[in-house]
Point group: C2
Chain length 190, copies 2
DNA sequence: AGCGTAAACTTATCAGTGATAAGATTCTTT
DNA sequence: AAAGAATCTTATCACTGATAAGTTTACGCT
Protein backbone atom coordinates (compact mmCIF):
# COMPACT_ATOMS: atom_id res chain seq x y z
CA UNK A 1 0.00 0.00 0.00
CA UNK A 2 2.93 2.29 0.59
CA UNK A 3 4.81 1.72 -2.62
CA UNK A 4 2.31 0.39 -5.11
CA UNK A 5 -0.45 2.61 -6.33
CA UNK A 6 -2.00 0.02 -8.61
CA UNK A 7 -4.81 -1.70 -6.79
CA UNK A 8 -5.20 -5.02 -8.44
CA UNK A 9 -7.12 -7.77 -6.74
CA UNK A 10 -3.96 -9.81 -6.57
CA UNK A 11 -1.12 -8.12 -4.78
CA UNK A 12 1.76 -9.50 -6.78
CA UNK A 13 4.00 -10.56 -3.94
CA UNK A 14 1.94 -10.37 -0.82
CA UNK A 15 4.16 -12.79 1.01
CA UNK A 16 7.12 -10.42 0.85
CA UNK A 17 4.85 -7.44 1.45
CA UNK A 18 3.50 -8.92 4.66
CA UNK A 19 6.98 -9.76 5.91
CA UNK A 20 8.11 -6.23 5.16
CA UNK A 21 5.11 -4.71 6.94
CA UNK A 22 5.60 -6.99 9.90
CA UNK A 23 9.25 -6.06 10.16
CA UNK A 24 8.51 -2.37 10.06
CA UNK A 25 5.89 -2.69 12.78
CA UNK A 26 8.22 -4.89 14.78
CA UNK A 27 11.10 -2.45 14.86
CA UNK A 28 8.94 0.61 15.33
CA UNK A 29 6.42 -0.59 17.89
CA UNK A 30 7.76 -3.83 19.33
CA UNK A 31 6.65 -7.43 19.27
CA UNK A 32 3.31 -6.72 20.91
CA UNK A 33 2.33 -4.70 17.82
CA UNK A 34 2.65 -7.79 15.64
CA UNK A 35 -1.02 -8.64 15.39
CA UNK A 36 -2.48 -10.28 12.34
CA UNK A 37 -4.86 -7.39 11.81
CA UNK A 38 -2.19 -4.71 12.27
CA UNK A 39 0.14 -6.39 9.80
CA UNK A 40 -2.47 -6.94 7.12
CA UNK A 41 -3.88 -3.42 7.58
CA UNK A 42 -0.40 -1.99 7.14
CA UNK A 43 0.01 -4.01 3.96
CA UNK A 44 -3.36 -2.81 2.68
CA UNK A 45 -5.12 -6.17 2.51
CA UNK A 46 -7.84 -7.88 4.46
CA UNK A 47 -7.11 -9.65 7.71
CA UNK A 48 -7.53 -13.09 6.18
CA UNK A 49 -5.15 -12.51 3.29
CA UNK A 50 -2.18 -13.94 5.16
CA UNK A 51 -3.69 -17.39 5.48
CA UNK A 52 -2.77 -18.83 2.06
CA UNK A 53 0.83 -17.70 2.48
CA UNK A 54 1.57 -18.46 6.12
CA UNK A 55 -1.31 -20.47 7.52
CA UNK A 56 -1.51 -18.52 10.74
CA UNK A 57 0.19 -15.74 12.68
CA UNK A 58 2.83 -18.04 14.11
CA UNK A 59 3.73 -19.11 10.58
CA UNK A 60 4.18 -15.50 9.53
CA UNK A 61 6.36 -14.67 12.52
CA UNK A 62 8.38 -17.84 12.01
CA UNK A 63 9.08 -16.77 8.44
CA UNK A 64 10.17 -13.35 9.71
CA UNK A 65 12.51 -14.97 12.23
CA UNK A 66 13.90 -17.08 9.39
CA UNK A 67 14.82 -13.88 7.57
CA UNK A 68 16.60 -12.80 10.73
CA UNK A 69 18.74 -15.93 10.92
CA UNK A 70 19.60 -15.64 7.26
CA UNK A 71 20.64 -12.02 7.57
CA UNK A 72 22.71 -12.81 10.63
CA UNK A 73 24.51 -15.55 8.72
CA UNK A 74 25.20 -13.14 5.86
CA UNK A 75 26.62 -10.60 8.29
CA UNK A 76 28.79 -13.17 10.05
CA UNK A 77 30.24 -14.88 7.03
CA UNK A 78 32.83 -12.30 5.94
CA UNK A 79 34.37 -12.02 9.42
CA UNK A 80 34.56 -15.69 10.32
CA UNK A 81 38.23 -15.84 9.39
CA UNK A 82 39.05 -12.94 11.64
CA UNK A 83 38.27 -14.86 14.80
CA UNK A 84 35.91 -14.71 17.73
CA UNK A 85 36.43 -11.08 18.61
CA UNK A 86 35.34 -9.74 15.24
CA UNK A 87 32.49 -12.21 14.95
CA UNK A 88 31.26 -11.33 18.43
CA UNK A 89 31.19 -7.67 17.51
CA UNK A 90 29.17 -8.42 14.39
CA UNK A 91 26.75 -10.56 16.39
CA UNK A 92 26.10 -7.84 18.96
CA UNK A 93 25.91 -5.13 16.33
CA UNK A 94 23.28 -7.10 14.46
CA UNK A 95 21.24 -7.33 17.65
CA UNK A 96 21.54 -3.60 18.33
CA UNK A 97 20.63 -2.65 14.76
CA UNK A 98 17.65 -5.06 14.66
CA UNK A 99 16.50 -5.30 18.26
CA UNK A 100 12.98 -6.40 17.49
CA UNK A 101 14.00 -9.00 14.96
CA UNK A 102 16.77 -10.36 17.17
CA UNK A 103 14.38 -10.66 20.09
CA UNK A 104 11.81 -12.40 17.92
CA UNK A 105 14.39 -14.98 16.85
CA UNK A 106 14.58 -16.25 20.42
CA UNK A 107 10.91 -15.97 21.37
CA UNK A 108 9.91 -19.59 21.05
CA UNK A 109 6.40 -18.94 22.37
CA UNK A 110 5.59 -16.86 19.31
CA UNK A 111 7.50 -18.68 16.57
CA UNK A 112 7.49 -22.36 15.66
CA UNK A 113 10.94 -23.81 15.94
CA UNK A 114 9.94 -26.93 14.04
CA UNK A 115 9.06 -24.95 10.95
CA UNK A 116 11.43 -26.50 8.39
CA UNK A 117 12.74 -23.28 6.86
CA UNK A 118 13.33 -21.76 10.28
CA UNK A 119 15.07 -24.84 11.61
CA UNK A 120 17.31 -24.94 8.54
CA UNK A 121 18.29 -21.28 8.79
CA UNK A 122 18.97 -21.65 12.49
CA UNK A 123 21.10 -24.73 11.99
CA UNK A 124 23.10 -22.99 9.31
CA UNK A 125 23.77 -19.94 11.48
CA UNK A 126 24.59 -21.78 14.68
CA UNK A 127 26.78 -24.15 12.71
CA UNK A 128 28.84 -21.18 11.60
CA UNK A 129 29.24 -20.10 15.21
CA UNK A 130 30.30 -23.48 16.58
CA UNK A 131 32.75 -23.98 13.73
CA UNK A 132 34.20 -20.56 14.46
CA UNK A 133 34.58 -21.27 18.15
CA UNK A 134 36.12 -24.65 17.54
CA UNK A 135 38.66 -23.12 15.16
CA UNK A 136 40.12 -21.29 18.16
CA UNK A 137 41.68 -24.59 19.15
CA UNK A 138 43.66 -24.70 22.35
CA UNK A 139 43.42 -21.11 23.32
CA UNK A 140 41.47 -22.13 26.40
CA UNK A 141 43.50 -25.11 27.54
CA UNK A 142 41.91 -25.63 30.94
CA UNK A 143 38.40 -25.93 29.54
CA UNK A 144 36.47 -28.61 27.73
CA UNK A 145 35.39 -27.86 24.21
CA UNK A 146 31.77 -27.54 25.30
CA UNK A 147 32.83 -25.21 28.11
CA UNK A 148 34.68 -22.95 25.71
CA UNK A 149 31.72 -22.87 23.37
CA UNK A 150 29.29 -22.09 26.17
CA UNK A 151 31.47 -19.35 27.65
CA UNK A 152 31.94 -17.53 24.36
CA UNK A 153 28.43 -17.96 23.04
CA UNK A 154 27.04 -17.00 26.44
CA UNK A 155 29.05 -13.83 26.68
CA UNK A 156 28.23 -12.66 23.19
CA UNK A 157 24.56 -13.53 23.41
CA UNK A 158 24.27 -12.07 26.89
CA UNK A 159 25.84 -8.81 25.78
CA UNK A 160 23.40 -8.64 22.88
CA UNK A 161 20.40 -9.20 25.13
CA UNK A 162 21.59 -6.75 27.74
CA UNK A 163 22.33 -4.13 25.09
CA UNK A 164 18.81 -4.41 23.70
CA UNK A 165 17.32 -4.14 27.18
CA UNK A 166 19.27 -0.96 27.81
CA UNK A 167 21.47 -2.32 30.57
CA UNK A 168 24.69 -1.41 28.81
CA UNK A 169 23.63 2.21 28.59
CA UNK A 170 23.17 2.16 32.33
CA UNK A 171 26.71 0.86 32.73
CA UNK A 172 27.98 3.55 30.40
CA UNK A 173 26.31 6.43 32.16
CA UNK A 174 27.62 5.23 35.52
CA UNK A 175 31.09 5.29 34.02
CA UNK A 176 32.99 8.46 33.16
CA UNK A 177 31.77 10.10 29.98
CA UNK A 178 34.41 9.31 27.43
CA UNK A 179 33.20 5.81 26.61
CA UNK A 180 30.96 4.94 23.68
CA UNK A 181 28.83 1.83 23.41
CA UNK A 182 31.13 0.57 20.69
CA UNK A 183 34.14 1.04 22.97
CA UNK A 184 32.38 -0.83 25.74
CA UNK A 185 31.66 -3.78 23.46
CA UNK A 186 35.22 -3.84 22.16
CA UNK A 187 36.35 -3.84 25.75
CA UNK A 188 33.96 -6.49 27.01
CA UNK A 189 34.56 -8.84 24.08
CA UNK A 190 38.33 -8.81 24.50
CA UNK B 1 -9.04 -23.63 45.64
CA UNK B 2 -6.39 -26.20 46.13
CA UNK B 3 -5.62 -25.72 49.78
CA UNK B 4 -8.61 -24.02 51.31
CA UNK B 5 -11.87 -25.91 51.57
CA UNK B 6 -13.78 -23.10 53.25
CA UNK B 7 -15.62 -21.13 50.65
CA UNK B 8 -16.11 -17.73 52.12
CA UNK B 9 -17.01 -14.83 49.90
CA UNK B 10 -13.75 -13.17 50.78
CA UNK B 11 -10.74 -15.25 50.00
CA UNK B 12 -8.50 -14.18 52.84
CA UNK B 13 -5.36 -13.48 50.89
CA UNK B 14 -6.31 -13.52 47.26
CA UNK B 15 -3.33 -11.44 46.27
CA UNK B 16 -0.92 -14.15 47.37
CA UNK B 17 -3.22 -16.83 46.01
CA UNK B 18 -3.27 -15.30 42.56
CA UNK B 19 0.49 -14.91 42.50
CA UNK B 20 0.87 -18.53 43.53
CA UNK B 21 -1.55 -19.73 40.86
CA UNK B 22 0.15 -17.61 38.23
CA UNK B 23 3.53 -18.98 39.17
CA UNK B 24 2.35 -22.55 38.96
CA UNK B 25 0.80 -21.99 35.55
CA UNK B 26 3.92 -20.15 34.43
CA UNK B 27 6.34 -22.93 35.26
CA UNK B 28 4.08 -25.70 34.07
CA UNK B 29 2.72 -24.27 30.84
CA UNK B 30 4.85 -21.25 29.96
CA UNK B 31 4.23 -17.54 29.71
CA UNK B 32 1.56 -17.88 27.06
CA UNK B 33 -0.62 -19.69 29.62
CA UNK B 34 -0.65 -16.61 31.86
CA UNK B 35 -4.08 -15.31 30.91
CA UNK B 36 -6.23 -13.43 33.34
CA UNK B 37 -8.97 -15.99 33.03
CA UNK B 38 -6.66 -18.98 33.42
CA UNK B 39 -5.06 -17.54 36.55
CA UNK B 40 -8.32 -16.61 38.26
CA UNK B 41 -9.92 -19.92 37.31
CA UNK B 42 -6.99 -21.78 38.85
CA UNK B 43 -7.38 -19.72 42.01
CA UNK B 44 -11.10 -20.48 42.12
CA UNK B 45 -12.39 -16.93 41.74
CA UNK B 46 -14.10 -14.95 39.03
CA UNK B 47 -12.14 -13.39 36.22
CA UNK B 48 -12.61 -9.87 37.58
CA UNK B 49 -11.39 -10.67 41.07
CA UNK B 50 -7.83 -9.65 40.29
CA UNK B 51 -8.70 -6.05 39.52
CA UNK B 52 -8.80 -4.64 43.09
CA UNK B 53 -5.42 -6.20 43.85
CA UNK B 54 -3.44 -5.65 40.67
CA UNK B 55 -5.44 -3.33 38.41
CA UNK B 56 -4.83 -5.33 35.29
CA UNK B 57 -2.94 -8.35 33.97
CA UNK B 58 0.29 -6.43 33.52
CA UNK B 59 0.10 -5.38 37.16
CA UNK B 60 -0.24 -8.99 38.24
CA UNK B 61 2.66 -10.16 36.12
CA UNK B 62 4.78 -7.25 37.30
CA UNK B 63 4.14 -8.30 40.89
CA UNK B 64 5.15 -11.84 39.99
CA UNK B 65 8.36 -10.60 38.41
CA UNK B 66 9.00 -8.61 41.58
CA UNK B 67 8.87 -11.85 43.54
CA UNK B 68 11.43 -13.22 41.12
CA UNK B 69 13.89 -10.40 41.68
CA UNK B 70 13.46 -10.70 45.43
CA UNK B 71 14.08 -14.43 45.41
CA UNK B 72 17.12 -13.98 43.21
CA UNK B 73 18.51 -11.44 45.66
CA UNK B 74 17.92 -13.83 48.55
CA UNK B 75 19.71 -16.59 46.66
CA UNK B 76 22.65 -14.37 45.78
CA UNK B 77 23.22 -12.76 49.14
CA UNK B 78 24.97 -15.61 50.97
CA UNK B 79 27.52 -16.18 48.19
CA UNK B 80 28.47 -12.58 47.45
CA UNK B 81 31.62 -12.88 49.55
CA UNK B 82 32.75 -15.93 47.64
CA UNK B 83 33.30 -13.99 44.45
CA UNK B 84 32.03 -13.90 40.91
CA UNK B 85 32.36 -17.58 40.15
CA UNK B 86 30.06 -18.70 42.97
CA UNK B 87 27.59 -15.89 42.34
CA UNK B 88 27.48 -16.68 38.65
CA UNK B 89 26.65 -20.28 39.40
CA UNK B 90 23.84 -19.23 41.72
CA UNK B 91 22.50 -16.86 39.06
CA UNK B 92 22.39 -19.52 36.37
CA UNK B 93 21.02 -22.14 38.75
CA UNK B 94 18.19 -19.81 39.68
CA UNK B 95 17.36 -19.39 36.01
CA UNK B 96 17.40 -23.16 35.40
CA UNK B 97 15.25 -23.89 38.45
CA UNK B 98 12.74 -21.15 37.61
CA UNK B 99 12.86 -20.84 33.84
CA UNK B 100 9.43 -19.29 33.44
CA UNK B 101 9.91 -16.79 36.21
CA UNK B 102 13.39 -15.83 35.05
CA UNK B 103 12.14 -15.32 31.51
CA UNK B 104 9.24 -13.21 32.75
CA UNK B 105 11.63 -10.95 34.66
CA UNK B 106 13.13 -9.79 31.37
CA UNK B 107 9.96 -9.63 29.25
CA UNK B 108 9.36 -5.90 29.30
CA UNK B 109 6.44 -6.17 26.90
CA UNK B 110 4.42 -8.07 29.48
CA UNK B 111 5.53 -6.43 32.73
CA UNK B 112 5.67 -2.75 33.64
CA UNK B 113 9.20 -1.74 34.54
CA UNK B 114 8.02 1.53 36.05
CA UNK B 115 5.95 -0.24 38.64
CA UNK B 116 7.52 1.07 41.88
CA UNK B 117 7.84 -2.25 43.69
CA UNK B 118 9.34 -3.92 40.64
CA UNK B 119 11.78 -1.10 39.99
CA UNK B 120 12.88 -1.22 43.63
CA UNK B 121 13.43 -4.97 43.65
CA UNK B 122 15.31 -4.77 40.39
CA UNK B 123 17.54 -1.97 41.61
CA UNK B 124 18.32 -3.89 44.77
CA UNK B 125 19.27 -7.05 42.91
CA UNK B 126 21.32 -5.40 40.18
CA UNK B 127 23.02 -3.26 42.81
CA UNK B 128 24.20 -6.45 44.49
CA UNK B 129 25.63 -7.65 41.20
CA UNK B 130 27.48 -4.47 40.31
CA UNK B 131 28.92 -4.20 43.81
CA UNK B 132 30.09 -7.79 43.54
CA UNK B 133 31.74 -7.22 40.19
CA UNK B 134 33.41 -4.03 41.34
CA UNK B 135 34.82 -5.81 44.39
CA UNK B 136 36.93 -7.88 42.01
CA UNK B 137 39.13 -4.83 41.63
CA UNK B 138 42.09 -5.04 39.30
CA UNK B 139 41.71 -8.63 38.22
CA UNK B 140 41.00 -7.45 34.69
CA UNK B 141 43.64 -4.76 34.35
CA UNK B 142 43.34 -4.13 30.63
CA UNK B 143 39.64 -3.34 30.81
CA UNK B 144 37.57 -0.40 31.94
CA UNK B 145 35.30 -0.93 34.90
CA UNK B 146 32.24 -0.80 32.66
CA UNK B 147 33.84 -3.31 30.31
CA UNK B 148 34.51 -5.73 33.14
CA UNK B 149 30.95 -5.39 34.38
CA UNK B 150 29.52 -5.92 30.91
CA UNK B 151 31.71 -8.94 30.18
CA UNK B 152 30.85 -10.74 33.39
CA UNK B 153 27.16 -9.84 33.49
CA UNK B 154 26.86 -10.69 29.82
CA UNK B 155 28.44 -14.09 30.17
CA UNK B 156 26.38 -15.08 33.18
CA UNK B 157 23.12 -13.77 31.77
CA UNK B 158 23.81 -15.26 28.37
CA UNK B 159 24.53 -18.66 29.88
CA UNK B 160 21.25 -18.47 31.79
CA UNK B 161 19.25 -17.59 28.70
CA UNK B 162 20.94 -20.24 26.58
CA UNK B 163 20.43 -22.86 29.28
CA UNK B 164 16.71 -22.12 29.44
CA UNK B 165 16.42 -22.27 25.67
CA UNK B 166 18.07 -25.69 25.64
CA UNK B 167 21.20 -24.67 23.78
CA UNK B 168 23.53 -25.93 26.47
CA UNK B 169 22.02 -29.39 26.26
CA UNK B 170 22.83 -29.33 22.58
CA UNK B 171 26.43 -28.49 23.38
CA UNK B 172 26.52 -31.27 25.95
CA UNK B 173 25.19 -33.95 23.67
CA UNK B 174 27.67 -32.99 20.97
CA UNK B 175 30.42 -33.48 23.53
CA UNK B 176 31.49 -36.83 24.91
CA UNK B 177 29.10 -38.25 27.46
CA UNK B 178 30.84 -37.75 30.76
CA UNK B 179 29.87 -34.10 31.20
CA UNK B 180 26.92 -32.90 33.25
CA UNK B 181 25.22 -29.54 32.87
CA UNK B 182 26.64 -28.52 36.22
CA UNK B 183 30.15 -29.40 35.05
CA UNK B 184 29.63 -27.39 31.88
CA UNK B 185 28.58 -24.33 33.85
CA UNK B 186 31.49 -24.68 36.26
CA UNK B 187 33.73 -24.88 33.25
CA UNK B 188 32.24 -21.99 31.32
CA UNK B 189 32.12 -19.68 34.33
CA UNK B 190 35.77 -20.17 35.19
C1' DA C 1 -23.14 -2.89 70.03
C1' DG C 2 -24.42 -1.60 65.69
C1' DC C 3 -24.40 1.43 61.97
C1' DG C 4 -22.31 3.02 57.72
C1' DT C 5 -18.72 3.22 54.64
C1' DA C 6 -15.32 1.04 52.03
C1' DA C 7 -13.33 -2.86 50.27
C1' DA C 8 -13.61 -7.50 48.03
C1' DC C 9 -15.83 -10.21 44.84
C1' DT C 10 -19.45 -11.59 41.10
C1' DT C 11 -22.15 -10.93 37.07
C1' DA C 12 -22.91 -9.06 32.66
C1' DT C 13 -21.25 -6.79 28.90
C1' DC C 14 -18.05 -4.56 25.54
C1' DA C 15 -14.51 -3.95 22.03
C1' DG C 16 -10.87 -6.35 20.01
C1' DT C 17 -8.16 -10.73 18.71
C1' DG C 18 -6.94 -14.93 15.54
C1' DA C 19 -9.08 -18.47 13.00
C1' DT C 20 -12.05 -20.19 9.38
C1' DA C 21 -15.85 -21.24 6.08
C1' DA C 22 -17.95 -19.48 2.03
C1' DG C 23 -18.00 -16.48 -1.75
C1' DA C 24 -15.75 -13.38 -5.35
C1' DT C 25 -11.86 -12.48 -8.42
C1' DT C 26 -7.88 -13.39 -11.14
C1' DC C 27 -4.08 -16.26 -12.79
C1' DT C 28 -2.62 -20.51 -15.14
C1' DT C 29 -2.73 -24.56 -17.60
C1' DT C 30 -4.37 -27.28 -21.19
C1' DA D 1 -11.30 -20.33 -24.60
C1' DA D 2 -12.61 -23.10 -20.80
C1' DA D 3 -11.62 -25.35 -16.39
C1' DG D 4 -9.44 -25.47 -12.37
C1' DA D 5 -6.64 -23.65 -8.84
C1' DA D 6 -4.83 -20.05 -6.26
C1' DT D 7 -5.47 -15.51 -4.19
C1' DC D 8 -8.07 -12.37 -1.64
C1' DT D 9 -12.61 -10.56 0.74
C1' DT D 10 -16.55 -10.87 3.63
C1' DA D 11 -18.90 -12.61 7.50
C1' DT D 12 -18.83 -15.00 11.54
C1' DC D 13 -17.16 -17.63 15.67
C1' DA D 14 -15.05 -18.47 20.16
C1' DC D 15 -12.10 -16.26 23.13
C1' DT D 16 -9.48 -12.47 25.56
C1' DG D 17 -8.83 -8.41 28.98
C1' DA D 18 -11.20 -4.54 30.73
C1' DT D 19 -14.95 -2.34 33.16
C1' DA D 20 -19.47 -0.77 35.06
C1' DA D 21 -23.00 -2.17 38.13
C1' DG D 22 -24.62 -4.98 41.66
C1' DT D 23 -23.91 -8.10 45.90
C1' DT D 24 -21.59 -9.56 49.94
C1' DT D 25 -18.48 -8.94 53.74
C1' DA D 26 -15.16 -6.60 56.76
C1' DC D 27 -14.06 -2.88 59.72
C1' DG D 28 -13.68 1.69 61.81
C1' DC D 29 -16.39 5.17 64.37
C1' DT D 30 -19.56 6.83 67.64
Amino acid sequence: MLHKAKKTYHHGDLRAGLLSSARMLLEEQGISALGLRAITRHAGVSSAAATPHFGNLMGLLSALATVGYEELAVALEPVLEEGAHAAGLVYVRFAILNPGLFTLMFRSDVIDRNEPALAAARARTSGMLTRLIDSLGGQQPQRTQAGTRAALWGKVHGLAVLAIDGFLDVLLSSQGEGLSLEDLLEDALR
